[in-house]
Symmetry: C2
Subunit: 313 residues, 2 copies
Amino acid sequence: MNNNLLSDFRKGDKKALARIITLVENETKKGMEIISELYSEGNVGYRIGITGPPGVGKSTTVNALLKELSLIDENIGIIAVDPSSPFTGGAMLGDRLRMNNSYDYENVFIRSVASRGSLGGLSAATENIAVLMERFGKNTLLIETVGVGQSELDIMEITDTVIVLLVPESGDSIQAMKAGIMEIGDIFVVNKADREGADRAVQYIKTVLSLNDKKGWIPPVIKITAKNNDNVNELVDSIKEHKNYLKTNKLLDKNRKSRKIEEVENLLRDMFIKNLKLNREKIIKSNESPYKIAMKIMNNIEKVDTEDLWKEK
Amino acid sequence: MNNNLLSDFRKGDKKALARIITLVENETKKGMEIISELYSEGNVGYRIGITGPPGVGKSTTVNALLKELSLIDENIGIIAVDPSSPFTGGAMLGDRLRMNNSYDYENVFIRSVASRGSLGGLSAATENIAVLMERFGKNTLLIETVGVGQSELDIMEITDTVIVLLVPESGDSIQAMKAGIMEIGDIFVVNKADREGADRAVQYIKTVLSLNDKKGWIPPVIKITAKNNDNVNELVDSIKEHKNYLKTNKLLDKNRKSRKIEEVENLLRDMFIKNLKLNREKIIKSNESPYKIAMKIMNNIEKVDTEDLWKEK
């Protein structure tokens, strides 16, 4: 069965990809074996992150991007990260299915992620799905997440180009900026640019960006109207420019390497707590502060030789 | 100096409180000693969390609540959690100062939290400040955070009553619900109820809540217009009812206990990674998946006796 799944996956069977993703998402032993086996194989894709506050039209933009990018690369994967509540969780998948049907690209593979309780959190779950899609042959990944909270913004760290989506209404933009969204964008997009105030929004974003003294890539600010596919080609050009910039400056590889280390750290963090059996009663009854308790526990964990922690036993 | 600070704090010197908070926020050794000493002392407050998507009027509502609650309890603390970007970080504090001046309650203490890189994350930093304010004598704490992302929603776990703020425009509300905000609310508030569609929003929220099959407390849905102090007294009544419900069902204490365990876990998670010296080069060069690497590292960490990890050395 295991072997069949893997060989079906290697033959390009979409159902096998979907099944393996589910196994990995549920952190089954089998899923982890499969992803470990596939990890060293072949294809790596280019990952485009799309984020922004609720209501800016992320799904519509992903849709428009998909249409435009399909002219260049037919083998696209879409990952929608949606840490929804159980009773509204179905909505987004429904949108997706509609979206998928409306264009019917044969090679597009769409997957939602909502496994927020998993080891390493949402980013690790998303990274696993991205790796599986890449090994399956996807060359371009569109990874979409709502961009107001920290966990959601963290997901953008596993992508190569981050698109921050905003709308002409400045209130929204200012609020979004507060949540740290301005620092992570490689490209800024004012969507729904057919509405009033789009030029003012572009100016405002440029001003805020100019306050940032980071060296290197200067994020362009682009107006689009995704629902009419208006100016989406300019957005695609910017993505290409950013990709070239990363390649020329050898940042693509560097970013991917630090991504891997962060992922190992996130997994270790969660595995460590999972393995610890804390004396809950003792903690509750204690008069001591959580910090002091944590310090004592850490002090009692044997300082292992950290020079070569990762050796075969 | 240490002793002076502590005795000034115990005498009720606001400047000493502010200084100690800064020491604790920066995770200085002195700060940790002081909070450990104060931890076992006296006063515990009632914590009210206020969350909601950007633009729903959280600051205005906190302001209105402050005015109303001051009639009952003069000793109120406000904590505004704002994981801002460095170049817009000042805005909120500015708002706060204006807010503070406009009423000038002598006993109100206001503090912003933005230390997102700290051990245990934003919730741990907020918890520390809350504990300090409580030990200082604050009986009621208002803790405000933008509520769309996971880290921000996590902060609500350190409060006793969670108020979820929405506005009549259903688009916003629906989007907010997607992000898991509907599950954490003890009280739902439609602010800006003088705008069109408030009743429809209330109905909509009630419908969504009715899909939830959790037993126990049924969250009320209240219309207010915070900027005119309109109906804020009803909100205060609901807070009192929820507090009574928690007390009657012995949940207040239970929630606080699990809060302490979670905090210890969060701290341990971060301390563990901070202590580990990972062989970064080896991780990068490896063909193995992050999961497999993390598993190997965990296997090589001596399985310590977890029965009584927390013992004096």
